[in-house]
Symmetry: C4
Subunit: 233 residues, 4 copies
């Protein structure tokens, strides 16, 4: 029971953070918080404005999509979250928004190159972009297939979701994750800033090359390597 | 009488929302609220700043443009609203702004392609843009002819105003509508966001193609189809 | 004496409006208010942050640049204001800012075409841009020569400062004016919005043509012609 | 002791200003304040959010990088600050941010041309951009080598850090400095605005030429020359 309360509060707080970080207008974003032990996650109810949310309004579901607790309908993107929790072990929070710079890259169906250290501080790889979903998958179970599409993209490219915590769904927008709901929103804000910087960079010079490999590696390791020395730990 | 009070309050609230959603500077936008039974609509008075508006300052008119109630001059765009209420049955609110990204597409006289699901969530067609009005029509009755131009554009393109709730008037800017005044402002904000995303998308790749038809249809139907499953209803 | 008090208060209020309309960071903008009867204008003191201004800190000068009242040094741009009040009869307020979109057009040394009705509502001509000032004029009396450059630009192009209330000084930025200090700041905000819309328009289509002449004329006349019908008068 | 207190307070205040001027999201920026007499500087602790900072949380170090006072780990960029204080005599404050327009120029590895007087008011030279750091230097002592790279760039280009108070580190972002911590943040905000104006200028005309030399010189001298006449001194 305490776990459920914590999950609801974490999901609630993280959903409000979408608004604070300006990552969506109206209700165009949702966050979930996952507890691997109980196999349950809390997610935003569908179509409810952020300023009407309460911890109690969060919906609790298991990984088969059964509602464990909650009176409202969960986010229409719930099955995408469900697939990612099932397939990407270790993640405890997922964020989906329609933040405009990330959407621009998704609509152009282009991965975001590692143009600088802001990007490298959060990942050594370009931000992957999926293919468009085929007509069969769309007809079948759209939101579940969106999850499958992301998982497949990571498998095909040999990416590790513990290192690459962001993806662009072609023609749609970003999903980001992390070891907490709060961290997944942080990655949503980071992605938006990286996408903005990358567009501005191409405006200064459309021929810009990615950052040299040795600088990418250095920036990643000073924050995430075995000898990381950023922050207070 | 109660109907009039409700209309004035709805129009007042919706006009304030223009400012909250940052869709116009100074007085560059107006909203009206329409009641089909009485055939009366309430609209912003001309040139009055948003923070000086009150529900009482709204002007009530019938569909022939006669003032039913109100001491101030109605918006200079009143006749455009009037034509749309007369011709587009079922709409109950209209919003006009000069929001800069929508104006950019209108000034370039280009329809906005369906580049992604943000657009498809609100319509399956590109946002139409009218032609320039001819010299005769301008001389005749400019604001009324603006309404005619929009209606004609929808007829020529075979568009249904219940499905396509937005238009760009060439060289001018956006008009949006909906089943309430509040909804028409919502569509004004959606249009501005779609127009911004579309410009950013073209910056990432000027050759970007529209979203595949089957994904457009899916997104529209999950929100507006007979089996819609977005939101709490 | 009352005139001076009014001028100081008008100038003070209008300088604060620069900040509210986001037209300058730090102290990068100044407004003056002019009384044609006494031939005196009040202007922002040089380099003082907006939140430290008071009506009393405004500096009063005559059209020969003599300080009439005030303990602080006037804006370094004072002589430009002085020339414009002397040469452009009828204007009672002048605003200078470094608002970024207007500066972009000034730095590119390009006039802003009339791409739409937002522009036509405030003028029927493109926003003029001066030439660069020559080395002799710069050495002579830079700020006074900036005024001369603007006046000369208007003469060469046959422009009427009562109709075209904005100018871009090449490589520098915008000066705007009006029949009050408040109106000159309004024109500063209008110019910034027009310049932003024009840049966005060129991004949608770099080949965009100006608005047809008959629509430009209509929009100007409905706000400023003999039969103007915008607003409450 | 009083010197240390003053340094901590100056550094604390200047770090908060990063947030107020919107120069970084989350913890992506740091400021230090230096006292040349004692050879000690105060700097932001690593990874601590701005709203959790206190004057007491600032870390004091000497120019050999030894902690003089403070319980937290200093900014991971500390050694870059240390090199600049050692090599650029006269500077008393340094700011590093990831402000997006400055980062765009750094990622494109392009110096920012002097396109206008906003730039010339703060320096007569283009904003320099370093080369990428080589693999050896990255392995050796990354943050110290970042300082060396900046110093070397200034030597190779014959630039005077008292006149050019800004630099772009290729692929990374801006460092700015001044005769106080507050002044270094001011230069950070100025650089961001100049970088934004320069990108917008290239959008109006990609062929834009720099401002003529005689206007650059005039603007610099009216603010910084022996006969400067801007401001109240």
């Amino acid at each position: 029971m305490d776990t459920y309360k914590t999950l609801r509060e974490e999901a609630f707080e993280a959903n409000l953070e979408i608004k604070r970080q300006n990552l969506a207008i109206y209700t165009w974003g949702n966050v979930s918080a996952f507890d691997p032990c109980s196999g349950v996650f809390a997610i935003k109810p569908s179509g409810v404005p952020y300023d009407e949310l309460t911890p109690e309004s969060m919906v609790l579901l298991d990984l088969d999509g059964r509602i464990v607790e909650g009176k409202l309908k969960p986010s229409s993107d719930t099955k995408t979250h469900q697939v990612l929790y099932r397939e990407f072990s270790g993640i405890k929070g997922i964020t989906h928004t329609h933040s405009p710079y990330a959407v621009a890259w998704a609509q152009a169906k282009k991965p975001v190159p590692v143009f600088g250290t802001t990007h490298a501080d959060h990942g050594t790889e370009e931000i992957p972009c999926t293919e468009f979903m085929g007509p069969e998958a769309v007809k079948n179970d759209y939101e579940l297939e969106t999850g499958n599409l992301i998982v497949e993209t990571f498998r095909n490219k040999g990416l590790n979701p513990a290192h690459v915590t962001m993806v662009l769904v072609a023609g749609h927008g970003p999903f980001t994750w992390g070891d907490s709901a709060a961290r997944s929103v942080y990655h949503g804000a980071v992605l938006e800033e990286i996408c903005k910087m990358a567009i501005l960079t191409l405006r200064v010079d459309p021929q810009t090359k990615p950052l040299p490999e040795h600088i990418i590696k250095k920036h990643w390791e000073r924050k995430h390597g075995p000898n990381a020395y950023y922050g207070q730990k």
